[in-house]
Amino acid sequence: MNIIVCLKQVPATTQVRIDPQTNNLIREGIESIINPYDTYALEEGVRLRERFGGKVTAVSMGPPQAESALREAISLGADEAVLLCDRAFAGSDTLATAYTLARAMNKLGDYDLIICGRQTLDGDTGQVGPELSQMLDVPCVAYVSQIEDVADGALRARRMVEDGYEVIESPLPAVITVVKEISTPRLPSLRGIARSKSAAIPVWGAGDLALEPEKTGLAGSPTRVINVYSPQRTCQGEILEGDPAEQVECLIGRLKDAGLI
């Protein structure tokens, strides 16, 4: 199976702050990691390769330092990796990102399955996977929690819904997005780490991808972020004093007065 895993490098923490002067996120001193949901995607891709044979290629669209995330992906089992990097891609929203990724998929050629994590830690949109599938004109199964089987050019998978799960069958090639229930990501292996250090990771820019410039970067992004802020929380609550018995008494009183119990 020819498997492509899309991954994004994100800050290691969601405890980010906004610089009140520039209104931008403060990025110094924050480490970068592979988006956790993408590690599940990568793990699933590697497991599928172990089960069915083939190749796993990790792809990421990002700034030059995203290369370290791709090297980590190789240490975790990816066979190859490609970085999509170009100033022209800056400012991309999910639509422009999906378009650029789609061009890369076309360049990579014959794939059976594209695996994405369900959402990123920073953007939290969950849109790129389905948008990518639309642009590639392949089916998309989102929120996959288990791949039951791959046979005869089709995939049978469980995907999560609010009150349980559905079992869906989809022909390949297809895009799937995965949830964390799908697997426990493995640790890197020593041989994997050695391979990741010596691996050649090609960098593809706008010129390599036969892009229509108006569909990438800022130009290709229909949405615009016009403001970011840290939500302020006002503390108007009442702290109930006393020993446990008194606190409980007081609470019950308050809730009864409010007609809640």
């Binding site: 493995r186 640790l187 890197p188 292996s189 020593l190 041989r191 994997g192 780490i193 050695a194």
Partner: protein, 385 residues
């Protein structure tokens, strides 16, 4: 301190630490409580290529030496001594094979051990033979088809989980110390069974059991090296593996030191964290110095082994004795620093104290090793180069 580790050594150490913190830490208390073999962790170590560290490259290993083994053992021990023992004994179980085995034997067994598919163990101790290995009674009678083993082995680490056992047997009872040989016995061989699994004070995640041989026929080609070379092979084996035990002791002590410092920083008594009290600072400083000294000596001993030096006994034994004594003292002091809380099983240090003790005992009791060092001292008249 700066130990001038190569990039590769740092990678190995870093990955071992990652595995210890992410996979061992959450379950160590439960493994200890239930005396449960860490099967899932063995798989994690295998998947991460950790068992390849001490196997030569031509047998699908990564060709690491004694220092690399020590780095892994130290990191695992920092979190759990029992898991570290389970890992380290694999090296013990296959070193004789690596040093003295034939090409066929190495090709047959080492790749599976490297892949973590099969675990190894080493069996010399018997009821009548602990420090005095010459007291072994398990015989291997040469018969048609191979050797017929009869006897039993006691306190064998990784029994009954291991698949490959390097066993010291008497192939010639008349020759005394020159009558012992090392032979490989695979689990499942008819006549080879396991006796009871021991209940231990510490390293409870490690499985320790009895091997029983009753007319167990082992193929002739399973004998490693020359018949009669068993004790010499074992002595050389221990020279190589003792720094690993020293590393285990260093790791356990390191874990205890960290726990004690963390505790002392957040425990407030008399209006301040107890780490501000000179009596506590004194204890912690002494612990830290001892741990670092033990580490430095252990790494030096490991490097000596890797240098190919002929005479390793003093270095290996010295490191093991020193580090294990440090571990026992440091872990007890760590419990003391943590006071009442340190005594409670919900808190990790009492386990470290229980785990540390065995390092003074196995792979040569510290008393026997001091004797051995004294003998070497006499030989070299106490002089150094």
């Amino acid at each position: 301190m700066e130990y001038f580790l190569t990039e590769e050594q740092q990678t190995i150490k870093g990955l071992a630490r990652k595995i210890a913190e992410e996979r061992v830490l959450p379950v160590r208390a439960e493994l200890d409580e239930r005396e449960e073999f860490p099967r899932a962790i063995v798989k994690d170590l295998a998947d991460a290529d950790m068992f390849r560290v001490f196997i030569p490259e031509q047998y699908e290993g990564l060709g690491g030496g004694c220092l690399e083994l020590c780095l892994v053992v130290e990191e695992l021990s920092r979190i759990c001594g029992g898991v570290a023992t389970t890992y380290a004994v694999n090296a013990l179980g296959c070193y004789t094979l690596i040093e003295y085995g034939s090409e066929e034997q190495k090709q047959k067994y080492l790749p599976d051990i490297a892949a973590g598919k099969k675990l190894a163990a080493f069996a010399i101790t018997e009821a009548t033979a602990g420090s005095d290995v010459s007291g072994i009674k398990t015989t291997a009678e040469k018969v048609e088809g191979g050797y017929l083993l009869n006897g039993s082995k006691q306190f064998i680490t990784n029994a009954p989980e291991a698949d490959i056992y390097a066993v010291i047997v008497l192939t010639d009872k008349t020759k005394g110390p020159r009558g012992a040989s090392t032979i490989i016995v695979e689990k499942g061989t008819p006549g080879f069974s396991f006796g009871k699994k021991e209940k231990k004070m510490g390293i409870r995640a490690s499985s320790t059991g009895e091997l029983v041989f009753r007319n167990c026929l082992v193929p002739e080609e399973n004998l490693i090296g020359r018949a009669g070379a068993g004790f010499i092979q074992a002595m050389r084996l221990f020279d190589r593996s003792r720094p690993g035990i020293a590393a285990q002791a260093v790791g356990i002590a390191q874990g205890a030191l960290e726990a004690a410092v963390d505790y002392a920083q957040q425990r407030v008594q008399f209006g301040q964290p107890i780490i501000t009290l000179p009596v506590v600072q004194d204890m912690l400083a002494e612990m830290a110095i001892q741990v670092e000294a033990a580490r430095a000596l252990t790494y030096a001993a490991a490097r000596t082994v890797d240098s190919g030096a002929r005479n390793l006994t003093e270095a290996a034994a010295g490191a093991k004795v020193f580090a294990s004594d440090v571990a026992v003292k440091v872990t007890a002091d760590a419990v003391q620093v943590c006071g009442g809380t340190g005594y409670m099983r919900d808190f990790p240090v009492e386990k470290m104290m229980r785990d540390a003790k065995v390092t003074q005992i196995y792979e040569g009791t510290n008393q026997i090793l001091r004797n051995a060092i004294a003998m070497e001292l006499r030989k070299r008249k106490g002089r150094t180069v």
